[in-house]
């Protein structure tokens, strides 16, 4: 892939100060660290060695590549990295603050101290990252993380919301993921033979088995399939003024503000049960506009619940 001049220069400006500090580094190591091919590293460094100040007789960037080792002489230019850009500062601050919310982090530990130094350099910004872990989820996360380390198989009791059924399964957890306010575990599911995503708060019990699968060095990019909203059917709701919080709470594809303060919102329909629960809870404040077969659903569900009350 052809890299732009901006990308190449940006990379050079972090590579050079690092090389100057080290003096001599194998080309392969430079390439690995900065995620480039050795050929690209060599080409860019050789180009940098030709740069400098007029009249270009003195080598300001004194470096050469000899026998696949980068050798840097007395540094005079670009000895310090360029300051952090706004996106870089943001990335570092949010990563640090998010990690501070993960299990095991400690304000007074190394991360807390590192973050304080970062804040001192980047300014006091009042950025708060919340990754809430209710107590019952916390215990599960601890058990799952421990099992990930050793690839231990677990026997779990799990509630599947879309079918409203509880099943016993054997899973090998691979990664715990927090997304949109919920905790998930990506795990190999013995029953289906597939890698599946489970919501941690829907485990009713987790038990260890003492059996182990192979540990994976790098958990492969887990696909949280219900976030791939494109493939899901859509439902259009009219939300009254008291129900507009719904668009803040759930993933929404489109929102149109209506004249009377109501919203017309299009949601990806993750499960029918989700929609039924939502309609029941919103009552008068919500109405299904489309698709047609869902328009009567709220009344049907309410009737079903009323039956329970003897009506």
């Amino acid at each position: 892939m052809r890299r732009s001049a901006e990308e190449r220069l940006q990379r050079l400006l972090v590579m050079l100060p690092w090389l100057m500090e080290r003096g001599e580094v194998p080309l392969a190591e430079v390439a690995q660290r900065f995620r480039m091919t050795p050929d690209d590293v060599a080409a860019d460094l050789e180009l940098a060695a030709m740069c400098g100040l007029p009249p270009f007789v003195d080598e300001l960037i004194d470096l050469f590549i000899d026998d696949d080792v980068v050798v840097v002489g007395v540094p005079r230019l670009f000895t310090k990295p360029l300051r952090l850009t706004a996106p870089e500062g943001f990335a570092l601050v949010t990563a640090g603050r998010a990690a501070m919310q993960l299990p095991g982090a400690d304000e007074r530990g190394p991360l807390g101290r590192g973050l304080q130094k970062l804040s001192a350099a980047l300014g006091d910004d009042a950025v708060v990252v919340e990754l809430p872990r209710p107590a019952e989820v916390d215990d599960h996360i601890a058990a799952l993380s421990e099992a990930i380390r050793t690839a231990e198989r677990l026997v779990v009791r799990y509630w599947t919301a879309s079918r409203d059924e509880v099943t016993d399964r054997t899973i090998t957890p691979r990664r715990v993921v927090h997304d949109r306010g919920e905790w998930y575990v990506v795990a190999d599911d013995e029953r289906s033979g597939e890698r599946r995503t489970f919501r941690v708060d829907r485990f009713e019990s987790i038990e260890s088995t003492g059996e182990h699968d192979d540990v994976e060095d790098a958990a492969p990019g887990a696909s949280l399939e219900w976030f791939a909203d494109g493939g899901l059917p859509q439902v259009v709701l009219r939300l009254g003024p008291a129900a507009t919080w719904v668009v803040e709470r759930y993933p929404v594809d489109r929102v149109v503000e209506l004249d009377d303060g109501a919203l017309e919102a299009t949601f990806p329909l993750a499960s029918e049960r989700w929609l039924e629960r939502l309609l029941l809870r919103l009552g008068d404040e919500a109405e299904v506009l489309a698709p047609e077969q869902w328009r009567s659903r709220a009344g049907e569900v309410a009737q079903r619940v009323l039956a329970r009350y003897g009506e």
């Binding site: 660290r33 860019d44 400098g52 990335a91 300014g123 997304d179 009567s296």
Partner: protein, 313 residues
């Protein structure tokens, strides 16, 4: 003579960093002989492109308009103090902690920042990761909050001017909290609803209220169960066996007042905030039933009847 653009950019950067006085484009082109086109219009265009390229990677280029003999001509330089990264003096364990933190965040970001701090980036392999949504306006908003700079952006079809006090990531959404030019109270905006760019307003700064915490300024969630904790009204609810374990975990075993042979349980649930209680109990659809008190049970029945009637009409 053709020069690799990276070479010309590097030379320009070196020149502007090392110069002891602001340089005009004519001076720059003469110093970097043969690297910029001779024709004035094309030379200006090439230089503007280079300047934009350097700025896009974060190089702060200062400019001034000269007076005296060359009055009205623009001149440029780079302030080394603004260019160079302040040394954070991270201890090895602090570097390591930031390295692990960056590896635990999805989508991956912050790798370049780590490199600048002299820290190697880890390959993807964290056991616990968190998704932190990335949005175009966020870096500028954070920067503005840190520098107390006023910003302006379009939100729901309207241009707003805001003093951004802080940012909050809650339930997967980013919010910016601050004071806008039309309201006295702090307002909350969803960052993903901002259309287009967030711009910093030149020379407009603000003072952030002391002890500001975005969590306090955030509107309280009225749906929260037992929002009025000082009123100790409770309802008794029967929950089917399929959901009983989860409910017991949520409320605690102390709330269970009866256990049935089929696995169902009766629990006492705060109901002072009736709409919140109703929402909670209806979330179980037909798998939960309010047993009492009668007024609360009737409230739920009336609610359900209304939903049924509406479906008929």
């Amino acid at each position: 003579m053709t020069v690799d653009r990276v070479e010309r950019l590097t030379n320009l950067l070196a020149l502007l960093l090392e110069t002891s006085r602001p340089l005009t484009l004519v001076q720059i082109a003469s110093e970097l002989a043969g690297q910029y086109p001779d024709k004035e219009a094309t030379r200006r265009a090439a230089f503007e492109r280079d300047k934009a390229a350097l700025r896009s990677i974060g190089v702060p280029i200062e400019s001034t308009v000269l007076t005296g003999q060359s009055a009205g001509v623009g001149a440029y330089w780079i302030d080394r103090d603004r260019y160079e990264l302040t040394d954070l003096d991270l201890d090895p364990d602090e570097s390591r902690a930031l390295q692990v933190a960056v590896a635990a965040i999805r989508p991956a970001s912050g790798v370049e920042a780590l490199w600048k701090l002299g820290v190697d980036a880890l390959e993807d392999g964290a056991a616990v990761t968190a998704t932190v949504p990335q949005l175009a306006g966020l870096p500028t908003l954070r920067d503005a909050a840190a520098r107390r700079s006023t910003v302006t952006f379009e939100y729901r079809g309207k241009q707003r001017t805001l003093d951004p006090y802080g940012l909050l990531l809650r339930d997967g959404f980013w919010y910016v909290i601050g004071r806008d030019d039309e309201h006295d109270e702090p307002r909350t905006y969803r960052v993903d609803r901002i259309s287009g760019e967030v711009d910093i307003v030149e020379n407009a700064t603000f003072v952030r209220p002391a002890e500001f915490d975005p969590r306090d300024a955030f509107p309280r969630d009225p749906k929260q169960l037992g929002a009025d904790a000082d009123v100790d009204a409770v309802a008794t609810v029967r929950v089917d066996g399929t959901r009983s374990a989860a409910v017991e975990r949520e409320l605690g075993s102390g709330r269970v007042v009866a256990r049935h042979a089929d696995g169902a349980i009766d629990v006492e649930v705060p109901c002072a905030n009736l709409p919140a209680f109703r929402s909670w109990v209806l979330g179980f659809v037909e798998h939960a039933e309010v047993l009492g008190p009668a007024a609360v049970r009737d409230d739920v029945i009336t609610w359900l009847r209304r939903v049924v009637r509406r479906g008929v009409a």
